[in-house]
């Protein structure tokens, strides 16, 4: 075993907290950024032996990685092991020409920009700091700095959002011509302030989202994007000189590959072990200042569970899932039933047998997967 070729680095800091967000975040605390980066590098040092000698992808997620103090961010980027794909998540209001140049200089070759919406009132509902123009400017700053692989995040099902709002958001996003788009339905966690504030409207959106999902898929595929994962789209290779613009780091998750995650609350999966670092910033910093591993929650994954996950994740992709290695996790009778309903198809013609979902099958992917799993 050569170890995982994928590294996730979590940067929890944000300028403010968005009501709907449930990631591990920490507001402000600029004085702690440098110390946190040192802790990250310390953890990485402790775990370096787990990783493969050469990495395929590194992903800096958050939080708002680009909210991190520039000097600390630069120190981190310089110290990270090189990788073919190096992605950083960014919030529009943090993207200045200087920051774009810094990222570029440090070898970042992909930026995922959290746009979420282009409607001022919807951005306000989400507690987003950026205005529509802030998003556009950020995008062009990145382009100007030479980024040729930019992804935009959009959210739908926002309280108050109408179908025409969504159409407008998709239109605005397409106008910018990003290489990649991630479109998520808003997930309002029960018990959060956000859910409490928007309860009735969220219920209405839940119904509307049925058609929203189809609308997103139709609009983006019509515009020449490949619907390669349930919530992710990239420009088709033919339009971009044959480049495969799928997010390689995320693809690793969906293909069931191993990965190492460092940082507060970060998750790693290596062979039959998955662990989550403590989500408490203080505890994380303290442990690493003593050069000790942070407190972790460990989950042991049986072969059966990993197979189950491979099916769950694999069926999110447009590429067929090779049946052989996961056959034990698949209920053949249910699979046949899904075929007869026109939701899945099994190919046994050439090479190993594969499962793929039809368009409608992918729209119902959760239910279909629950059926297919033995």
């Amino acid at each position: 075993m050569s170890g995982p070729r994928h590294l996730y680095v979590h940067l929890p800091f944000c300028s403010s907290r968005c009501g709907y967000c449930d990631f591990v975040t920490a507001v402000g605390r600029p004085d702690e950024h440098a110390r946190y980066v040192e802790a990250l590098l310390e953890e990485l040092k402790l775990e370096r032996d787990l990783l493969a000698p050469e990495l395929e992808t590194v992903f800096l997620g958050g939080g708002t990685p680009t909210f991190t103090e520039p000097a600390a961010l630069e120190r981190l980027l310089d110290a990270l092991p090189p990788a073919a794909e190096l992605t950083v998540e960014a919030n529009p209001e943090t993207v200045t020409p200087e920051l774009a140049a810094l990222l570029r200089r440090a070898g970042v070759n992909r930026v995922s920009l959290g746009a979420q919406s282009f409607q001022p009132e919807l951005l306000a509902v989400l507690d987003r700091v950026a205005q529509p123009d802030t998003i556009r400017r950020a995008f062009y700053h990145l382009r100007d700095a030479g980024f040729g692989n930019i992804s935009l995040d959009l959210i739908y099902g926002i309280p108050g959002q109408s179908p025409s709002d969504l159409e407008a958001d998709l239109g605005e996003a397409l106008t910018l011509g990003p290489e990649h788009l991630s479109c998520y339905e808003l997930e309002a966690k029960p018990g959060t302030r956000f859910t409490h504030a928007h309860g009735a409207e969220l219920a209405r959106q839940a119904e509307a989202m049925e058609s929203y999902f189809e609308l997103v898929v139709d609009r983006l595929t019509d515009a020449g994007y490949r619907w390669y994962e349930t919530a992710n789209f990239c420009r088709v290779p033919e339009a971009v000189g044959g480049r495969d613009l799928r997010a390689r780091h995320n693809l690793a998750y969906w293909l069931g590959r191993d990965y190492l995650g460092v940082g507060v609350g970060a998750v790693s999966t290596i062979e039959n072990r998955r662990w989550r670092n403590t989500p408490r910033l203080r505890a994380y910093l303290d442990a690493l200042s003593r050069r000790q591993r942070p407190e972790r929650e460990l989950e042991v994954l049986s072969d059966a569970v990993r197979r189950e996950e491979r099916v769950m994740l694999g069926l999110r992709l447009d590429e067929p899932l090779v049946l052989g290695p996961v056959a034990a996790a698949v209920d053949d009778v249910a699979l046949e039933r899904m075929e007869s309903l026109g939701l899945a198809s099994v190919s046994r013609l050439a090479g190993p047998a594969t499962i793929s979902l039809t368009r409608r099958g992918r729209l119902l992917g959760g239910g279909v997967t629950a059926e297919i799993l033995a």
């Binding site: 996730y8 991630s182 998520y184 339905e185 997930e187 989202m209 049925e210 058609s211 999902f213 189809e214 349930t230 919530a231 995320n250 998750y253 969906w254 990965y259 995650g261 609350g265 970060a266 998750v267 999966t269 998955r274 989550r276 989950e299 569970v305 189950e308 996950e309 769950m312 994740l313 999110r316 039933r337 309903l341 939701l343 992918r362 729209l363 119902l364 992917g365 959760g366 239910g367 279909v368 997967t369 629950a370 059926e371 799993l373």
Partner: protein, 595 residues
């Protein structure tokens, strides 16, 4: 003891009118139980009975009062057990008829009073709870006196709670209730008025010896069923079990039979001795038949053996409970159970869930039907799906309903009864304010929600009792429900032709709300034979995905998926359609829509 010093009596009362409290007070006064270690309501032994304030199984307690042996025979307090009540009363010469001074006569008071009169009992009227601020002892006494044709001065006024007047009650039992008049020299005859089951000793029969005497170790015979056994032990309760060598004419006690099957010794049967059998049994034995049926299915099909064992055990104590295996295409393996009535069904179901910890799905109850197919013989049908498509004649059980309400609710009650195919019999004023209505109704019309409706339309004032009076022809049809083209046996119902359309429509509409959207359109149809009378569609889902899923989300998403999958396992599969268990109760809730 000399029969002239024996008094056998019951207390009859409406629920909550104070029967149990009076019984407790009597035990206390006669020193059968000291008040210190007396558990409230000694006679009601089962936990469930205490909670519901009713007594399911009768027992008898012997006490001493001023040189007399008094046997207090407890009676079941509810409509479903009328036959058992009548047997208990037959074991007595008299009864205390107890009425709440604030509430006055209720339907059950009437029903039981009439039973007592039919059994030629001497009735001592008692107005209880005279200590309550809202009590109207004079009004209640006048009503009672009128009911039994006695003078209001003769009505005893007591508070069982405080003990006021209870000694006078005991004196009245001795003075007014006649002693038994059996023939001590005649061949032995004893009435079985109740039975219970003891895990170690087998069936215990509660008997009233009418003629002759029993001795321990005698071989006895139940005359109607022909069951023979040796009397392993004789005795009485006081209130604890006390063994005696003999039981004589006029006395009340128990016989331990050693029988391992309650159905071999039925309430109402007559015991005699094998050596010198009586020429004829005591009158009045009836084979009680269940009238209300429902399917009981374990929620988890793996629990089927547990359900079977639990029913077997319940049956040991409840000879009236009937069950046979039933296989439903939709619900799997279960049992079709027959009950005396609704309360009986409720009690059995609760005991199964509580004492045996079973999770049950109970289908909508239906009544027993008699059907005659063309060119065939009459037979009884206990499940709607067993009703043949073609029938020449159908008969359904009818009841005589007795309802007492304040006069301003007469209109509301009449309207309800008309909606339920009721036939007005007669009406009488019990007092200036309160009216007694008698109706004949199909039993099927009351099995679902009649009582709830009656209560809500009379703001809780109505009291209700009924008696099954036999089978009568009905214009009945079977309505089937098809889900995705597949008939669902558990949802079939038998109803009057005139309401078939409305009920069929309401049923599929209700199902549409209960069946979650699937990955394809699901047609819901109600049909009579091959004719579809109502149709609805559950539209296919258009989206069912877990929004985003990255490295940190995988475990949580997997668990969501596992939960989704577990949720499906709780669904019942009808063809390709997953139907939640609750949908099978749609039939039960139909009447919520029917105003």
């Amino acid at each position: 003891m000399d029969q002239s010093h024996i008094r056998n009596f019951s207390i009859i009362a409406h629920i909550d009118h104070g029967k149990s409290t009076l019984a407790d007070r009597i035990l206390e006064l006669t020193h059968a139980v000291s008040s210190r270690d007396m558990r409230e309501q000694v006679l009601d032994s089962m936990e469930l009975e205490r909670e519901r304030g009713i007594t399911i199984k009768a027992q008898a307690v012997r006490v001493e009062w001023k040189g007399h042996q008094l046997n207090l025979i407890d009676t079941p307090g509810h409509v479903d057990f009328t036959y058992e009540v009548s047997r208990s009363l037959q074991a007595c010469e008299g009864a205390l008829l107890v009425v709440d001074a604030a509430q006055g006569t209720q339907a059950q008071t009437l029903a039981n009073a009439y039973l007592a009169i039919e059994n030629n009992l001497e009735i001592a009227p008692v107005v209880n709870k005279i200590d309550l601020p809202q009590a109207d002892p004079d009004g209640a006494a006048a009503e009672l006196a009128d009911l039994i044709g006695d003078s209001p001065d003769h009505v005893l006024r007591i508070s069982a709670k405080t003990g006021q007047g209870v000694e006078e009650v005991l004196d009245a039992v001795v003075e007014r209730i006649p002693p038994p008049g059996g023939d001590l020299e005649a061949p032995t005859r004893a009435l079985i008025f109740d039975s219970s089951y003891d895990e170690y000793r087998g069936v215990v029969a509660f008997v009233r010896v009418v003629d002759g005497r029993f001795e321990r170790r005698q071989v006895l015979r139940a005359m109607a069923l022909g069951t023979r056994f040796e009397a392993q032990e004789l005795g009485f309760f006081s209130p604890n079990r006390r063994e005696t060598p003999t039981l004589e004419a006029g006395e009340v006690g128990y016989v331990i039979t050693g029988l391992k099957d309650v159905s071999r010794l039925r309430v109402g049967d007559t015991l005699t001795t094998e050596a010198r059998p009586a020429a004829a049994p005591l009158p009045g034995y009836k084979d009680v038949k269940p009238m209300v049926f429902a399917g009981l299915f374990p929620t988890d099909s793996d629990d089927y053996p547990e359900l079977r064992d639990a029913l077997e055990k319940l049956k040991l104590n409840d000879a009236a409970l009937f069950y046979e295996p039933e296989t439903s295409k939709a619900l799997g393996f279960g049992f079709r159970c027959g009950f005396l009535g609704l309360l009986h069904m409720e009690i059995v179901r609760e005991r199964l869930e509580r004492e045996f910890d079973l999770d049950l799905l109970v289908t909508a109850p239906n009544v027993a039907y008699r059907v005659k197919p063309p060119h065939g013989d009459w037979r009884e049908v206990h499940t709607p799906s067993d009703m043949p498509n073609e029938v020449e004649e159908v008969e359904e059980p009818y009841i005589k309903a007795s309802i007492i309400v304040p006069k301003e609710f007469v209109g509301a009650v009449m309207e309800l009864n008309n909606d339920r195919r009721g036939r007005f019999d007669h009406l009488e004023y019990l007092s200036e304010e309160r009216v007694h209505l008698m109706y004949e109704l199909p039993l099927a019309e009351i099995v679902l929600d009649y009582y709830d409706q009656l209560k809500s339309r009379t703001r809780g004032y109505a009291s209700f009792d009924y008696d099954v009076i036999g089978f009568r022809p009905g214009t009945l049809v079977r309505v089937d429900v098809l889900v995705g083209g597949e008939p669902v046996d558990a949802l079939s119902l038998i109803i009057h032709r005139d309401v078939a359309y409305d009920r069929g429509r309401a049923l599929v509409e209700r199902l549409r709300q209960e069946i979650p959207r699937q990955m394809f359109d699901v047609a819901l149809q109600a049909a009579i034979g091959s004719r579809v009378i109502a149709r609805e569609t559950v539209k296919a889902k258009r989206k069912d995905v877990l929004a985003k899923c990255y490295g940190g989300d995988i475990t949580r998403k997997r668990k969501l998926l596992e939960r989704q999958k577990a949720g499906k396992r709780r669904m019942k599969q009808v063809g390709m359609v997953e139907v939640p268990q609750e949908a099978f109760l749609a039939v039960l809730n139909l009447n919520e829509d029917r105003k």
